[in-house]
């Protein structure tokens, strides 16, 4: 069975290549559907397959750039990408991430910040999960109230509406983002992307997990546009990240390319699935993904407190992450197949008539 293993030219480790394709496929589906890179899923996955941690991060970032590009191409054709908004936010994201990284270096000189950063991540994930599920609950309440009045709630109605209050702050220059249907101060997306960039830089993550809900709740993007625009940003910032990691010699391109085979299929499945699932379906599944990420981070955090069980906790964390990847990507895959089968059947029926 030697043919199932490939020798990585840079890291020198031998890797089970079908595992790379499967990992790419699962993360591709989730990334294309939610508009995030998914580093929290890929890095432990690569580590399990035998990659040293230093190469796992670089290889993940490199494959993320290619995968997000494929998803952006697909979302762009659906009209889900607001390029003007994406480019405006990119400025804030890049500067914010650099400043975040510098803040971490400064704090490191003062003492051990690792634990603080991880707990900050936990608080942030709890806030994100609360925001998503609170929004869903508010929207459901609005639906019930509309039903009681004998009306049907508008299809574009949302639960939480913080964005309209932020749009009312009219600091020039005012910009119209046509695709997203937003008219606001240019400073709003710049400030939001800067803040999410600083947070991502401090936490050492790509930022899609934070930026996507911020695009929805703070900037007021429809869910589908938020997914597409975030992917556009992830593609560009991923390429920048790939360049910096590769310059440090921490990227295994052969593994990234093998992963891209699976991710190309997965990204298309994830992106096409957004066509058949309503915005609130995407938000609910995103909330579940945030909880998955939260579980894995908490399990990593409690390890030092229970040294006797450290190995077991580590294995549980891995199982939790992979379990979430399999169940969420499975859900998206099934929804995509059901939607596509229905569409093809309808097309055939129309042609027959």
């Amino acid at each position: 069975m030697d043919w199932l293993y490939v020798l990585m030219p840079i890291s020198g480790c031998t890797i089970f290549w079908p595992g790379l394709i499967i990992l790419g496929l699962g993360v591709g589906i989730i990334g294309g559907f939610f508009g995030m890179g998914g580093a929290w899923m890929v890095t432990p996955g690569l580590n399990i397959l035998g990659f040293p941690m230093a190469f796992a991060i670089g290889t993940d970032v490199a494959h993320m750039a290619g995968k997000s590009l494929i998803s952006t191409m697909r979302h762009g054709k659906f009209g889900n990408v607001d390029y003007k908004l994406g480019l405006t936010m990119l400025v804030g994201t890049v500067i914010g991430m650099e400043i975040g990284a510098q803040i971490v270096m400064l704090l490191e000189r003062l003492g051990n910040v690792d634990k603080v950063v991880r707990w900050l991540y936990v608080v942030l994930l709890i806030c994100l999960a609360w925001m998503v599920f609170h929004d869903i609950a508010v929207r459901k309440r609005k639906e019930r109230e509309a039903q009681a009045r004998g009306e049907v709630l508008d299809e574009k109605a949302t639960g939480i509406d913080w964005a309209s209050k932020l749009h009312a702050i009219k600091i020039p220059p005012m910009v119209h983002f046509h695709q997203a249907g937003i008219y606001c101060s240019a400073w709003l997306p710049i400030f939001v992307s800067f803040a999410t960039g600083v947070l991502a830089g401090i936490l050492g993550i790509g930022g899609g997990l934070i930026r996507m809900p911020c695009l929805v709740y703070l900037i007021g993007c429809p869910t589908h546009i938020a997914v597409g625009t975030d992917l556009f940003e992830v593609a560009i910032s991923g390429l920048y990240g790939a360049a910096t990691y590769t310059l440090k010699g921490r990227t295994e391109l052969v593994a990234a390319l093998i992963m891209l085979i699976g991710a190309a299929i997965g990204a298309q499945i994830g992106a096409v699935a957004t066509k058949y699932i309503r915005g609130y379906g995407i938000r609910a599944a995103f909330g579940a993904a945030v909880i998955g990420c939260l579980c894995s981070v908490v399990l990593k955090l409690i390890q030092p407190y229970f040294p006797a069980y450290a190995k077991i906790i580590n294995n549980v964390a891995t199982v939790v992450v992979l379990g979430f990847v399999i169940s969420i990507s499975g859900y998206i895959f099934v929804k995509m197949i059901q939607g596509a089968a229905q569409e093809i059947a309808e097309n055939k029926r129309q042609r027959a008539n």
Partner: protein
């Protein structure tokens, strides 16, 4: 109006300052890069050997090729997947906008 103008000037100033600090940030990063990793080429041949040798010779060329190859591969796979999905009969240009 005056307050607004002041705020505008302040924000532009902060932005400009951040851009000025960018090279310092990049230099600080360079200073931290003190670990050298070398690829073991003894077990490699053909394309893999060439790739590993390039890594050992210059990380810069290695990086340039990597960031060229990744988007190109992404585009090729994306176009291929488009062809397959179109062949299956999925409409890839329209979707219903609904929350």
């Amino acid at each position: 109006m005056r307050k607004l103008r002041n705020l505008w000037v302040w924000l532009v100033g902060v932005y400009a300052m951040m851009l000025c600090f960018m090279p310092t940030v990049a230099m600080a990063k360079k200073a931290l890069r003190n670990v050298v990793i070398v690829a073991d080429t003894r077990r490699l041949d053909g394309l893999m050997l060439w790739w590993a040798q390039m890594y050992n010779d210059s990380h810069l060329y290695f990086m340039i090729l990597t960031i060229i190859i990744i988007p190109i591969t992404g585009c090729i796979f994306g176009v291929l997947a488009d062809v397959v999905m179109n062949h299956i009969g999925i409409d890839l240009k329209h979707r219903k906008a609904a929350e």
